[in-house]
């Protein structure tokens, strides 16, 4: 037992001695899935370029629409509040199925809309809207970014073809981290 104590004392000293330097961290104790996903969406907003025509004014806000049942709650509002990207503020709007999506720059399609995906993607077709989903096959079926959970981490798929159709320019940094998925034959047929 004495030996164990000595070992532990040594460990203590070691850990103290190694302290100090480069000790910054993101304490992820609050690593709720949707807090993290809100962080992803905020990052996507920075790494995607919209065509100038997508905004009425140089300072028009970036509208993040959440379509269907909202899994974020206040988390996403807190992430984007008081933030500006190229002079644009970010605002979050909750939308019901059938609502006009035209004012959105980003549209988060909730998993509650899984059964109506074709309809939703039809209604954003040709508009400069970054569609983000968390539905299996979302990107393959014509959505632009699909968030997935792989093991314990959030990952995402990008459909480059769909981004081009929406006239959005996705940064290479984002693409390098993404899993690139092709548009399915079904998706093409539905165009």
């Amino acid at each position: 037992m004495r030996y164990l104590r000595l070992t532990i004392a040594a460990l203590l000293c070691m850990s103290l001695a190694s302290g100090g330097a480069n000790a910054q961290s993101a304490d992820s104790s609050e690593s709720s899935e949707y807090l993290i996903k809100a962080g992803f969406i905020y990052n996507f907003a920075q790494l995607v370029q919209w065509p100038p025509a997508a905004f009425a004014q140089p300072d028009s806000p970036i509208v993040i629409g959440i379509l269907g049942v909202d899994p974020f709650g206040e988390l996403i509002d807190r992430v984007v509040q008081n933030k500006k990207l190229d002079g644009r503020s970010l605002i979050v709007k909750r939308l019901k199925r059938g609502a006009s999506l035209k004012e959105c720059s980003i549209l988060f399609v909730s998993s509650s809309e899984a059964a109506h995906l074709e309809e939703v993607l039809q209604s954003t077709k040709g508009l400069p809207i970054l569609t983000i989903g968390e539905i299996p096959g979302f990107a393959v079926r014509g959505g632009i970014i699909n968030l997935t959970l792989e093991g314990n981490r959030v990952r995402f798929e990008v459909n480059i073809e769909a981004a081009k159709q929406a006239n959005l320019n996705i940064s290479s940094r984002l693409l390098a981290l993404a899993r690139i998925v092709p548009q399915s034959a079904d998706g093409k047929r539905s165009e």
């Binding site: 988390l75 933030k83 998993s111």
Partner: protein, 686 residues
């Protein structure tokens, strides 16, 4: 803290707390729903690369929203632990509705779920980072050695009711899942020091850093010493203890489909107690100050691999426990465990989880006159597999989960533990769930091979009037079978208003083959001298009956900076011996668990980074132990000026100068009284 804030995906707060194992383990660390708005971390400064490294689940299996869990679940977050001022895991568990958490002496606890509480409670499964700490020796938990660096705990998930389909035999009345943060979430240094009346001086150190570019690590060490409590007469008792512990955890960065975790701990704990043991010579019993030691360690590795539509997890661990109590019993136990699990998404509405595992247990023990175990060396093998499928209908508004565990153990052979669970979301703000499950509690080594000499009746004394001393002894039996439970559960959750939510769980448990102690044929024993008569009581399965209860829980955010929680637990136990039982002991365990308990907590964020918490707990009387009911008032005042320092002042049990909480069964150690205590703590992060 409220595990369920709202009833479906649409609620503003739902999704912050998640279940990992279908119905069991909560997945995302988050204290978000439990904490004040400013407590939600600002993650907008994190790059996408950093976000990809954040682990949002820790103990395997697929995520499930807490509000969508068809089980009675409660989550203690890191924030809850911090604000409760809890200094140990049992103290943190005191806030959970439906649990009974009582202290026997400074170093012994009795913790149970939905009845049958005792020091050797055998129906509650406890896991730390996926490692079972349920000892096969007596089918219970050594609570005094189950410790972690509390600051590194991500959350403690508590499931009341059976979790056997996923967790296996012995998850009968509940599962407690203690989950620590991944190493990347504990980077940098932390030093804490604590001191207070009665109890404790405690110090801990943790440091986390990077291992090259591909992994994170942390190492920690902690030491505490608790001073003796007082006995029933108000004198200092012999129940002080201390423990020293150190450990590490390494997690790889998850840039690819693979994630690897390796962690381990070493500990050593010295304890004191007042022990009474029988003797064959006058005065036939002796009470003395006894000292003992617990030491051990564990090492665990977990590898997760993700495919596009499924993921696999392989976990291996080794756990060693040494119990050295030279006046009573020594035990050396080694557990080797390997588990594999595969989660598959089938289409859009079906999720399948299956797994298999093997556990090998090596036990060797040394006896005393009081306690002996046959054989002195044993080796046990357990094989298990499980399959569970969740299918959802109507846009995931209705979910049906069906599954079963299949296990084989050396005592009772094959065990089958199925369950079916249904959850329905009604509108946006309500959900109901119902479940039926079977769980078994498999025999422990002691139930097969124990001999415990409980008492020696002097020659000529009642009730035997024997010319020789009579030893009343409890014997294990190879005939002892598993205890069985059929559980029926029902729950309702509703968001009453934007700031008020309610969660009600009810249950009816039907037990059969519960343990009784049947009188056997007395016999004469010549060794050890002097010659005596042994009056045996043999472990048997002649008890059964029902328990039922209701556990409502309310959370009310009165103001953004003021939160109120309230919970109440009602428990009715109707356990009785079967007609053919001759067990002469009092009828049943009904009177050892409180019928009524409630807990109320107020948490306020004050200006200038102060925070104040006050909680009141009521525990009903325990009639068969003659323990009166009591109220316990706890207080916490914290101050966090900036990010580096935290100061806190904690008061425990402020209403009573002292009170008794429990009287232990089987091993006759003198219970001591819980005293009013005040302590202070400083934490420094760098």
């Amino acid at each position: 803290m409220l595990p369920i804030r709202k009833q479906n995906h649409g609620s503003p707060t739902v999704g912050r707390r998640f279940l990992s194992l279908t119905v069991v383990g909560l997945l995302l660390g988050t204290g978000a729903s439990a904490q004040s708005p400013q407590g939600v971390p600002d993650i907008s400064h994190m790059s996408i690369e950093e976000l990809m490294n954040v682990e949002v689940t820790s103990v395997a299996k697929r995520p499930q929203r807490l509000a969508d869990a068809a089980a009675a679940i409660f989550v203690i977050t890191q924030e809850d632990i911090r604000r409760s001022g809890a200094a140990s895991i049992p103290e943190a568990l005191q806030m959970v509705p439906g649990l009974e958490v009582v202290r026997i002496d400074e170093n012994k606890w009795a913790i149970g779920s939905r009845g049958f509480n005792g020091r050797f409670d055998n129906k509650l499964l406890v896991l730390i980072d996926g490692r079972s700490v349920y000892t096969p020796l007596f089918s219970g938990v050594y609570w005094n050695v189950q410790d972690v660096m509390l600051e590194d705990v991500d959350r403690i998930e508590v499931i009341r009711g059976p979790g056997a389909t996923l967790w296996g035999a012995n998850a009968v009345d509940g599962v407690i899942n203690i989950i620590t943060k991944p190493a990347q979430a504990t980077q940098g240094g932390l030093v804490t020091a604590e001191g207070g009346t009665e109890e404790r001086t405690a110090e801990s150190v943790r440091y986390g850093g990077k291992l090259g570019n591909s992994a994170f690590y942390r190492i920690y060490s902690k030491y505490f010493e608790w001073e003796p409590s007082i006995d029933a007469t108000g004198k200092a008792a012999h129940d002080g203890w201390n423990a020293v512990r150190a450990g590490f955890r390494v997690d790889t960065k998850s840039s690819g489909p693979n994630a690897l975790t390796v962690q381990g701990d070493l500990y050593d704990s010295d304890y004191k107690e007042t022990l009474t043991i029988p003797s064959l010579n006058p005065p036939y019993s002796s009470m003395f100050a006894n000292d003992g030691d617990y030491a051990g360690g564990n090492l665990l590795g977990r590898w997760n691999h993700s495919f596009s539509r499924s993921s696999t997890t392989l976990q291996v661990y080794f756990d060693r426990t040494n119990v050295l109590d030279n006046s009573l019993f020594t035990d050396h136990e080694s557990v080797y465990d390997i588990d594999f699990q595969h989660d598959i998404h089938v289409g859009e509405s079906q999720e399948l989880v299956w797994g298999m595992g093997y556990r090998s247990i090596q036990d060797s023990n040394g006896s005393s006159f009081t306690v002996s175990l046959q054989p002195n060396h044993s080796s046990l093998n357990q094989f298990s597999s499980f399959l569970q499928d969740e299918v959802s209908f109507f846009d995931r508004r209705l979910r049906v989960t069906l599954g079963s565990k299949f296990e084989h153990n050396d005592f009772t052979g094959f065990e089958f533990q199925p369950n079916v669970r249904v959850l329905a979301n009604i509108g946006k703000n309500q959900s109901v769930w119902a479940a039926t499950s079977r769980a078994v509690r498999t025999p422990a080594l002691t139930e097969e091979g124990l001999r415990l000499n409980e008492a020696v009746v002097p020659p000529g004394a009642p009730p035997f009037f024997s010319p020789l001393p009579v030893v009343e002894a409890i014997f294990g039996s190879t005939q002892f079978k598993s205890e069985d439970l059929l559980a029926y559960e029902f729950g309702y959750r509703v968001q009453v208003a934007k700031s008020v939510s309610l969660d009600i769980a009810t249950f009816y448990n039907n037990y059969s083959n519960l343990r009784s102690a049947e009188p056997g044929q007395p016999f004469v024993e010549g060794s050890p001298a002097p010659t005596d008569v042994v009056y045996p009581f043999v472990a048997s399965n002649k008890m059964g009956g029902g328990t039922y209860g209701v556990e409502p829980f309310v959370e009310w955010k009165v103001l953004p900076k003021w939160r109120l929680l309230g919970s109440y637990s009602y428990l009715q136990m109707d356990i009785a011996k079967n007609k053919n039982s001759l067990d002469p002991t009092a009828d049943n365990p009904d009177g050892q668990s409180p019928k009524h308990q409630f807990f109320v907590q107020s948490s306020i964020d004050l200006p200038k980074h102060f925070e104040q918490d006050l909680s009141l707990r009521y525990v009903d009387s325990l009639p068969s132990l003659n323990i009166p009911s009591y109220y316990s008032l706890d207080f916490h005042l914290g101050w966090r000026p900036g990010t580096h320092w935290e100061f806190s002042l904690v008061g425990h049990d402020l209403l009573n100068s002292r009170h008794l909480e429990f009287i232990p069964e089987f091993i006759n150690t003198t219970p001591t009284e819980v005293q009013r205590t005040v302590s202070g703590r400083i934490a420094w992060k760098f």
